[in-house]
Structure formats: structure tokens, C-alpha cells
């Protein structure tokens, strides 16, 4: 990965944290610290069910698949510059498809999962076709409308979706019935998906996507098919949201309209922004914070929604680059500066300073 790929003066959200990026002039161990941190996270994630009670394992499971959901939004919003408010509709398409196929259609889980993802991909592509023509606020409004269409179907088409009552008895894979087994299953699926998204954003396709985010008008003149890139990004992102939807449906053994409602999309966007738009780990950090406040703090604080709102406002005001962005800017870059003798900060830090001036 080369740091010259993006221009220093952009006010845009951060790219990936630069994990493993060579820090010029720094001792060789510094570059490895990140890998150590990453390894630490992996070990922690693996040991999680052995460290905490089943309730927290459940929260961890949710943080993982909501993290994947936030990451799918991030892929669109952070890398492609397409802020969506309808992503829960796509998550819900897969979730509902799985629920319907495994319960009333009586399909085995494996084929049902594949079919559900297929349905989700088709719907994503169709919604993408409608949405990618627009930009900015118009794109947001179209995705919002698309999400509401799915919600409308979920609530109104009673015979198919169970309406308000949703669909219960969605099965889990036979090897992942226990809460901790399911945690590892989710961990594995989310890890693979994260890896795939990681590869995607580092690929030429991902670079083009970032190019679209930075200067959509210039790319056609360079010979890029902007519309097609956006459509593919939209569809791929929808499918990853769909994977999160499958995991969610199987986790709760239930799927209902509130999971496809506009608020669910907004929550996903909130997770994404909270953690840091355009970062990979940010999605999971954001999801963890939201899940923690929503499910744990809510037991002790009646106005937990307000608390979440305050956290969100504080993050947006004090750290527009999100928690992960702030961490890199405030802590990591300082470490780097100290080690390298303050002269040459790491590339992300430079980029970020630019961002700060622009805002």
C-alpha cells in the first residue's frame, strides 16, 4: 500500500488506519505494534466466551454482526462517499428471506442461506440501479425510500412476513446451537467477510471507489465507468449487510419489522460514524459502543437513548473522524512522533491534520 494514493489536503474521512504501513524513519518494531494490537484483538475475540458470562458473549456476538452491518455501510459511505439510510432494508431482505424459507417454505438452513443471499443480491442490485443515478442528499433520500419499501412490505404483507408479529423459530446451524458455539460461528463468518471487504477496498476497485468519493466528475474523463462502479459497490455492500441479516435472524431465532425500520438503518450509520467512517475497525468499535449502551447501560439508565445521543454529538463535535480516527490522531500519531523525533509523523496523521483544518 502506498500513501501517495490519496492526496494530503482532503477533508474526507480517513482511509484505513494504515495498518502495517511503513512509517518512514521509525524503528522497525513500530510497524509491528499495530500487528501486535491486531493479534491482541484476535486473541481477545477468541478467548471472549471463556472470559465473560453468557450474557456478554451474546453482546459480543451482536457487536460482531452489527459491526459487519456497519462495515457494509462504511464500504458505501466511507469509501464510496454514498451515505445510505436504507441499508437495514437490505439486511432485512436477507433476514426475512431466510426466516420465510426456513419456516413456512421448510427449506434446510444451508440452501436457505444461499437463496436468501441471492434474493438480497438481486434486491440490492435493483435498488442500486435506482439509487446510484443520484448523488448527495438525493441518494440519501432514495435509499431511505427503498428501505421504507422493504419495511412497508414487512408490516403489510402479513401472510408472508407475519406483519407486526414477525417470524419466529428461525433455526441456527446444528453445530452452533449453544450461545458460545454461535459466537464462534459468527466470529468466523464476520472475520471472512471483513477480510473480503479489506481486500476489496485495497484492490484497484477500492481505489477507484475512493476516487469516486473524492472527485466523481473527474473519473469519467479518465475512462472509468463511474455508474457501474457505484452499482457494484452498492450491490456488494448490500450482500454484506445481508450476511449480517442472516446472522441476526439466526441469533434471535426471530425476524421482525423493527429490524428493517429506518431507525435500524440510522443506527447502522451511527455505529459507522461513531467508530470512524472509512476505517475498518471503526465499524466494530462503533457497533460495540451502541450495543453496549443499548443493552447493558439501558438496564441502569432510563434515558439511555439520550445518553447515546449525547455520546454521538460529542463524538461528532470533538472527533469528527470517529473514535478510531481520534485514537490514531491523538494517541498513535503522538507515539509515532515521539519515536521518530517529532519530525516525520506517520502518513495518516498528516492527512488528518489536513482534515482538521478544512473542517
Amino acid at each position: 500500500m502506498s500513501t501517495s494514493a490519496s492526496t494530503p489536503e482532503t477533508a474526507a474521512p480517513r482511509d484505513e488506519e494504515g495498518a502495517g504501513a511503513p512509517v518512514h524513519g521509525a524503528p522497525p518494531w513500530l510497524g509491528r505494534v499495530k500487528w501486535l494490537v491486531l493479534a491482541g484483538i484476535v486473541v481477545l475475540a477468541l478467548a471472549w466466551p471463556y472470559l465473560v458470562s453468557s450474557f456478554y458473549v451474546g453482546m459480543g456476538t451482536q457487536a460482531l454482526f452489527y459491526g459487519l452491518f456497519a462495515l457494509s455501510i462504511n464500504l458505501l459511505a466511507g469509501y464510496g462517499g454514498m451515505v445510505t439510510l436504507g441499508q437495514a432494508g437490505l439486511l432485512g431482505t436477507a433476514g426475512y428471506a431466510l426466516a420465510i424459507l426456513t419456516t413456512s417454505a421448510g427449506l434446510p438452513l444451508g440452501p436457505a442461506m444461499v437463496a436468501a443471499l441471492g434474493v438480497c443480491a438481486v434486491v440490492s442490485a435493483f435498488f442500486g440501479l435506482l439509487a446510484v443515478r443520484a448523488r448527495g442528499t438525493y441518494f440519501v433520500m432514495i435509499t431511505l425510500a427503498e428501505g421504507m419499501i422493504i419495511w412497508g412490505i414487512a408490516v403489510r404483507w402479513q401472510s408472508l412476513t407475519g406483519g407486526d408479529n414477525g417470524i419466529t423459530s428461525v433455526p441456527r446451524p446444528a453445530f452452533a446451537l449453544e450461545y458460545w458455539q454461535y459466537y464462534y460461528f459468527v466470529l468466523a463468518v464476520v472475520a471472512v467477510c471483513t477480510l473480503l471487504i479489506g481486500l476489496l477496498v485495497r484492490s484497484p476497485f477500492g481505489l477507484t471507489l475512493r476516487g469516486i468519493r473524492e472527485a466523481e466528475d473527474r473519473l469519467p474523463s479518465l475512462g472509468y465507468n463511474v455508474g457501474l462502479h457505484k452499482l457494484v459497490a452498492f450491490t456488494v455492500s448490500g450482500v454484506f449487510a445481508g450476511v449480517a441479516g442472516l446472522l441476526l435472524a439466526m441469533y434471535n431465532n426471530f425476524f421482525g419489522p423493527s429490524q428493517v425500520f429506518f431507525l435500524a438503518s440510522a443506527e447502522g450509520l451511527l455505529m459507522s460514524i461513531l467508530g470512524g467512517v472509512g476505517t475498518m475497525t471503526g465499524a466494530f468499535v462503533g457497533a460495540s459502543v451502541v450495543v453496549y449502551v443499548k443493552q447493558f447501560v439501558s438496564s441502569y439508565v432510563d434515558r439511555w437513548m439520550t445518553l447515546l445521543g449525547v455520546v454521538f454529538v460529542l463524538v461528532v463535535v470533538l472527533a469528527p473522524d470517529g473514535l478510531v480516527g481520534a485514537w490514531i490522531r491523538v494517541v498513535w500519531s503522538r507515539v509515532v512522533r515521539r519515536v521518530t523525533g517529532s519530525g516525520r509523523a506517520s502518513a495518516p496523521a498528516v492527512r488528518n491534520e489536513g482534515g482538521k483544518e478544512a473542517t
Binding site: 502495517g20 484476535v42 406483519g163 407486526d164 477480510l195 439501558s298
Partner: protein, 439 residues
């Protein structure tokens, strides 16, 4: 792309480690409950969100029982932990897990909405070592086609049960052509279905069925669709929609001109508390709770509730109060040992309460409540609006007078199926067909 390769390697290692961890076996699993110590009950009542007011009433009812009767039963202290599901099924599930796994609850009570109820029912189904008390989620199928054995309607009801007599009553009033206006979701369909089913049995005709979504702010457009020549209107509204409907009914001049009968939730204490005019005065409704019922159980409950919370209790409070009474009775009968879930469940199922704030109550073989339904009229007493029972339909089954097997062979009431063409003859009645031969 060397980063990608490293990432890939890391994932493979992680995967291998995960597989190893799975092979190592389950992490330690702790489970609460036992033969001594406190009895832990987890409460899932929505105290925020759209139905927060009713959820708070539920909490108050539950707490009042233990305040009045003491929180120790058969030598064991009852320890309740409350969690707020905000009226959302997913949250209800999470909270159920939290209550069981964190707080060691072995009994769950709640929630309010049917959608949350189905989610909790499913959770209980896969956790047969738990027992759920369901005093409020009135979805018909929870004690009919989708019954879960360890989720029991203690102090509970069915959406259609109290209004089954309403259809018959309306026909007896001489109504022949009616319009129904119900809330556009499962509860509304079931409530309307109860009325339509029995009304049409006698030969009554439903001219039009209107459905208003939950959260309708203006009922004018719905009332405008009611034809001039109808004999009566049946209405089911819920929560904040109820006062809006009642205001529109009065303002548009329907009140006093067009006969109206409603279900329980349209004219409920939570509605009446906020009504300072006479919009509701004199209106009639059918319900399984009547706060002005003169019986020791009801009057004591109402006066204790007024003393504690300064208001007249709604049916939600009566329901959780009764559920607590039911629970306490079962614990008493088992001498404090509820560790055998099957025994505990069977005891709950068997209990007959001679008098509750609802009246006498027990469960039928399907787990549905057998309770009174009251024809109620709103009157002003001591400055407050209350539902006064005018007529009692004693000990109604969830199947009305139909044969349970015939009734269960029909689908649950939905927007499409309201039971208008069913049954075709008296053969599906278990007793006293009562049809007037106009079919």
C-alpha cells in the same frame, strides 16, 4: 498486496484457534434458581417508547401486589428485576436473555405487545427450564394455534374473547348493518374478528370494515367513510389513538346519534385519565376488566392502587397484579419449591382464583383464560371517569360457545379472515347456539 496475504494468514490462524477452542468444549455455564434463596422473577415491561404509559402501569401493578401482600411467599423472598423492552421484540429477547443469564431469573413476566410476546414465547420454547407469565400480550394464538407450554396466560386474556359477546349483544340491540373501525395490526384484526364472527352468526351484516394504522393522528377521514344509515359502529383503538378517536367521534357529531360499542382498550383508564371533557361519558364497551365492579377483590385493588400511585388502575395494572397473585398462589401450593419446572407449570395451569380484580379466573385446557366479560358504561364518580359494569357475561372461554376443535380449525382472525362466513350452522356450537334463524 503483502498486507492482504498477512491478513489472510492471520485469519487462517484465527480460524484454527477457533476450531481448537470449540473442540475444547463449552465455557462454564452458570444457572440461577434452586430450592433455597430468593425466587427470581424477571419483568419485561416497556417503560419507554410508544406504549410506555401502559408498561409503567404493568410495573406498578406487579409492585403493588408485593407491597400489599408482602414479598415473602412460603418462606421465600420474591426478587423482581425489571427490564424495559421499549415495545420492541428484539429488545424483549435481549432483555429476556439478560434477566435469565445475568440476574438468574427462572420466571419471566411480560411483555406488553403481541409481537414481543411471540418473540419471548419462542425464547421460552427453546428454554423449557424457564416459566413465563403472560398477563397482557393477548394475541389469540398464544393460547390457540401457537401455544407454548411454559408461557402461561396467568391473569391474561385473548384479544377476541371479551368482544365475542359484543357481536351477539349488538344483534340483540336490533343492529343489522354495522361498520367496524379497528386498528390496522394483529390486535385490531383479532378484536374486530371477535365481534364480526358472532354478529354475523346471527345474521347481522358488516357493511364496511375500516382499518386505521396505529398512530393515526386524525380520525376524521375514517369517520367520514361511515355511511349515514348504519345501525351501529364497532371500534377498537389502542393507546394514544383512543383519545384521538373519541374526540373526533364527539366533534363530528356522531356521539349520541350513531350507536357505538367499543372494545376494552378504546375506553380504558389510561385513556379516561386524560379526558377532562365528556367525550367518553356514557359510552359503552366490552372488556374483561371493570374498575367500578363491586366486589372485594376489585375494590381493594383499586383503593390500594389509588393510595400508592394516586390514580385509578388500568387493566394493565390489574393484569400484572393478578399474575403476581397467581404466581404467589402457585409458590404457596408447592411450598416454595418451584425448581421442578413441569410441576410448577402444571400448578400454574391448574390454579383457580375465586376472585381477582378481573373477577373469578382460571385457565382452560389450551391455556386460555376463562374470565368474565363485562358490558361497561363510562360514568363519572368522585370526579373521575370509570367503567361501570352493566352486564356480566360470566366465565367466558376463549372459544366463545364454539367447539374448540372447530374453532381451532379456522385460521386466526386476520384482516382477511374475520369469521364472517363461519360457522355455517349450529353444528360448530358446543352449547346454546342462540341463532335467531335469520341465516
Amino acid at each position: 498486496m503483502s498486507n492482504a496475504i498477512r491478513l489472510l494468514a492471520a485469519t487462517v490462524v484465527a480460524g484454527a484457534l477457533a476450531a481448537g477452542a470449540v473442540a475444547c468444549g463449552a465455557p462454564n455455564d452458570s444457572e440461577g434458581g434452586g430450592k433455597s434463596g430468593p425466587l427470581k422473577v424477571g419483568l419485561i415491561f416497556p417503560t419507554s417508547g410508544n406504549v410506555a404509559a401502559s408498561g409503567t402501569d404493568m410495573l406498578h401493578g406487579w409492585q403493588l401486589y408485593w407491597k400489599v401482600n408482602g414479598d415473602t411467599v412460603a418462606g421465600r423472598k420474591v426478587e423482581s428485576t425489571h427490564e424495559d423492552d421499549a415495545g420492541d421484540p428484539t429488545t424483549a429477547l435481549t432483555k429476556a436473555r439478560k434477566l435469565v443469564e445475568q440476574n438468574g431469573a427462572t420466571t419471566l413476566a411480560g411483555p406488553l405487545l403481541a409481537s414481543s410476546g411471540y418473540a419471548v414465547a419462542d425464547y421460552l420454547k427453546s428454554n423449557p427450564n424457564l416459566v413465563g407469565l403472560n398477563p397482557v400480550a393477548s394475541s389469540d394464538d398464544l393460547s390457540q394455534r401457537k401455544r407454548v407450554d411454559n408461557y402461561i396466560k396467568t391473569g391474561g386474556w385473548n384479544s377476541s374473547s371479551p368482544v365475542h359477546p359484543a357481536g351477539e349483544w349488538a344483534y340483540q340491540q336490533g343492529w343489522r348493518n354495522v361498520v367496524t373501525l379497528c386498528q390496522d395490526y394483529a390486535f385490531g384484526y383479532e378484536s374486530c374478528g371477535g365481534f364480526v364472527n358472532t354478529f354475523t352468526d346471527h345474521g347481522g351484516k358488516v357493511v364496511k370494515q375500516l382499518y386505521a394504522p396505529l398512530g393515526t393522528s386524525d380520525y376524521t377521514s375514517y369517520l367520514a367513510q361511515i355511511p349515514k344509515d348504519v345501525d351501529g359502529v364497532f371500534v377498537t383503538t389502542v393507546g394514544a389513538d383512543s383519545p384521538r378517536f373519541l374526540r373526533a367521534w364527539k366533534q363530528l357529531g356522531f356521539k349520541g346519534k350513531v350507536p357505538l360499542i367499543t372494545n376494552e382498550t378504546t375506553i380504558e383508564q389510561s385513556t379516561l385519565r386524560g379526558m377532562h371533557g365528556d367525550e367518553a361519558l356514557g359510552l359503552q364497551s366490552f372488556g374483561h376488566y371493570a374498575e367500578a365492579r363491586e366486589s372485594p377483590a376489585t375494590t381493594r385493588f383499586v383503593s390500594e392502587f389509588k393510595k400508592a400511585y394516586g390514580q385509578i388502575p388500568s387493566y394493565y395494572s390489574c393484569a400484572t397484579y393478578t399474575a403476581a397473585q397467581w404466581f404467589a398462589e402457585a409458590v404457596k401450593q408447592l411450598d416454595g419449591d418451584i425448581s421442578d419446572t413441569d410441576k410448577f407449570r402444571a400448578t400454574l395451569q391448574r390454579i383457580q382464583l375465586k376472585d381477582t380484580c378481573f373477577g373469578p379466573m382460571r385457565l382452560d385446557d389450551h391455556g386460555g383464560a376463562v374470565a368474565n366479560s363485562y358490558l361497561r358504561k363510562v360514568e363519572r364518580r368522585d370526579g373521575a371517569l370509570v367503567n361501570v359494569p352493566e352486564k356480566t357475561y360470566p366465565q367466558l372461554s376463549q372459544f366463545w360457545r364454539y367447539k374448540p376443535e372447530d374453532f381451532l380449525a379456522q385460521p386466526v382472525y386476520t384482516r382477511k379472515y374475520q369469521g364472517a362466513d363461519w360457522p355455517k350452522s349450529c353444528a360448530s356450537y358446543a352449547s346454546d347456539c342462540g341463532l335467531e334463524g335469520s341465516r
